[in-house]
């Protein structure tokens, strides 16, 4: 009898329905972020490019949704090849079953896999803001397959891959760089890929600097920001891979940092531009969510306010800087995700362990040392992302081309790439 209880107990301690429920719910939430992003970006472009812009995000879901299952997950999280990339043991999800896996003791391995799939989906979608309103659709399809394989999978592996015995196997993870929910893997990664694309490959949109390119639909932007905020609870609190103290703490700081970042962005905008804008509020929210991402399981509420306020201000300035440099990062991906991610990664080093009881800093590592590790993490992911993205895009540029013709750009991508208009007249 006691035997039986113990057995059932053990099983219960292994597989936990509450944890599984939370990770599944979180996976759904993170999936929703990509349609959210579609609207965040779709609202910002001009009328003639709305559907094409939305399509970029939607295609990320479709393409990565399949690629991840086929080989992406194995490369990113499979048994390591020298800490650099996973091997192909788990190709087609071979051996990735519904029993708890190496990554989480209380949920099915596939739950972890699909949760990670959602991260792999949104990351390339984030990049698309850099070449919005001028990317060729056919090239985009190829780009996303290559990028996921050559950029996302390795970086995810460096930071998050584990051995079967539960020790880190990726080189950055082993080193001790902290990234709770994807500051480096997702945001710095996407941000620096965006910079490479906008600065060195695509060039500026026709009319950049002379024609207004105002958001065609501000409510769509806020809808997107709202869905992103909502989904980000899954992103960060889901990264606890369980429904307990850690998830709760991550949830709390996520909300708080985002709120503070709205205030930060609006404050500086109010001073600089004389009026606080609605697009600014939405942008600030995203900046704050980005910055808290790497820190979300490591800090308490008060640091999260500082991280958020900082993100609002720093990202605002970063976006202005890009504009000064006349780099047409059309929807400000680098300023918000790249720099927001860098700020978050550094702030994680600074504040980790403060105001939080469920986690404590690894002993014997000083703040300065941790900051150093964070810098390594930032540099490695930013560098790899920038360089490899550049190579991929240049290869495409000089073969099939990455940019639509000038006439197609003038007509708009909706008509030229998809032969449909977003809205009917009359």
């Amino acid at each position: 009898m006691r035997q039986a209880i113990l057995l059932r107990l053990r099983k219960r301690f292994l597989m936990n329905t509450g944890d599984t429920a939370w990770v599944l719910a979180s996976s759904a939430l993170v999936l929703l972020m990509t349609p959210g992003l579609a609207f965040f970006y779709g609202g910002m472009v001009r009328r003639k490019n709305v559907s094409a812009t939305i399509m970029h995000s939607f295609m990320a879901i479709a393409i990565v949704g399949v690629v991840w299952v086929l080989w992406g997950y194995s490369l990113a999280f499979g048994p390591t090849i020298g800490g650099f990339i996973g091997n192909l043991d788990w190709i087609g999800l071979k051996d990735v079953g519904t029993q708890p896996g190496p990554y989480a003791a209380t949920i099915p391995h596939q739950a972890f896999m699909i949760f990670q799939a959602m991260f792999a989906i949104i990351t390339p979608a984030l990049i698309t803001g850099a070449f919005a309103e001028r990317m060729k659709f056919s090239a985009f399809v190829i780009f996303i397959v290559l990028w996921l394989t050559l950029v996302y999978a390795p970086i995810a592996h460096w930071v998050w891959a584990y051995n079967a015995d539960g020790t880190a196997s990726g080189w950055l993870g082993k080193l001790g760089a902290l990234d709770f929910a994807g500051g480096t893997v997702v945001h710095i990664n996407a941000g620096f890929a965006a910079l490479a694309a906008a600065w060195l490959v695509f060039g500026r949109r026709k009319g950049y600097g002379t024609e207004p390119m105002l958001p065609h639909n501000v409510p769509f932007i806020v809808l997107g920001a709202g869905l992103l905020w909502f989904g980000w609870f899954g992103f960060n609190a889901g990264s606890a891979l369980s429904a307990g103290e850690r998830a709760t703490s991550a949830f709390v700081v996520t909300n708080t940092a985002a709120a503070a970042a709205v205030l930060g962005w609006l404050a500086i905008e109010w001073v600089h531009r004389k009026k606080p804008s609605v697009v600014g509020a939405a942008s600030g929210a995203v900046a704050g969510l980005v910055a808290i991402t790497p820190a979300s399981g490591f800090v308490g509420p008060i640091p999260s306010i500082i991280i958020g306020l900082g993100a609002g201000i720093i990202c605002y300035l970063a976006v202005q800087l890009v504009v000064r440099l006349r780099i047409d990062d059309s929807l400000a991906v680098w300023g918000v995700h790249g720099i927001g991610g860098v700020w978050g990664a550094l702030a994680t080093g600074l504040f980790a362990g403060i105001g939080i009881t469920v986690w404590a800093r690894p002993e014997g590592i000083s703040v300065i040392q941790q900051l150093g590790l964070q810098v390594v993490g930032v540099a490695a992911s930013a560098g790899w992302s920038f360089v490899v993205t550049l190579i991929i895009l240049l290869a495409l540029k000089y073969t099939i081309g990455v940019r639509v013709t000038e006439a197609e750009e003038e007509v708009g991508l909706d008509l030229s790439q998809h032969r449909e208009e977003s809205y009917t007249e009359v």
Binding site: M44, P212, M213, P215, V319, V323, D329, A332, V333, G335
Partner: protein, 113 residues
């Protein structure tokens, strides 16, 4: 008969149309346009782009067709209701209409106005 086209500030549409009704001119139609004039555009900045002078501003164009003799009264009414005194108040164009037909009855000319 004359056609009076007035390009006004969107926020003055209500005032203009009420003033016209009061002056006895019910028939009219209005459409949103964007226009450029002496008025300097405002400087706007999209999130990832440099500030640009938006020189095409949102306006409303109203059209009223009236009998020759009413032209001045209509011009006057519109001018008064639409004026703020600031640049961007808009313009009125007057042109000749050769004929007017009421679709419902087929009536033509001034009785159809």
């Amino acid at each position: 008969m004359n056609k009076i086209e007035a390009i006004i500030r969107p926020e003055k549409l209500d005032a203009v149309k009420d003033a016209l009704a009061e002056a006895g001119f019910v028939g009219l139609n209005a459409v949103s346009v964007t226009g450029r004039g002496v008025q300097r555009g405002v400087i706007q900045q999209a999130r990832g782009a440099p500030p640009v002078v938006v020189d095409m501003l949102h306006k409303v164009k109203i059209e009223v067709v009236v009998k020759e003799g009413d032209t001045e009264k209509v011009i006057d009414t519109i001018t008064k209701a639409a004026r703020t005194g600031n640049i961007g108040d808009g313009k009125i164009f007057v042109s000749t209409v050769a004929d007017v037909i009421r679709i419902r009855t087929g009536e033509r000319g001034t009785t159809a106005v």
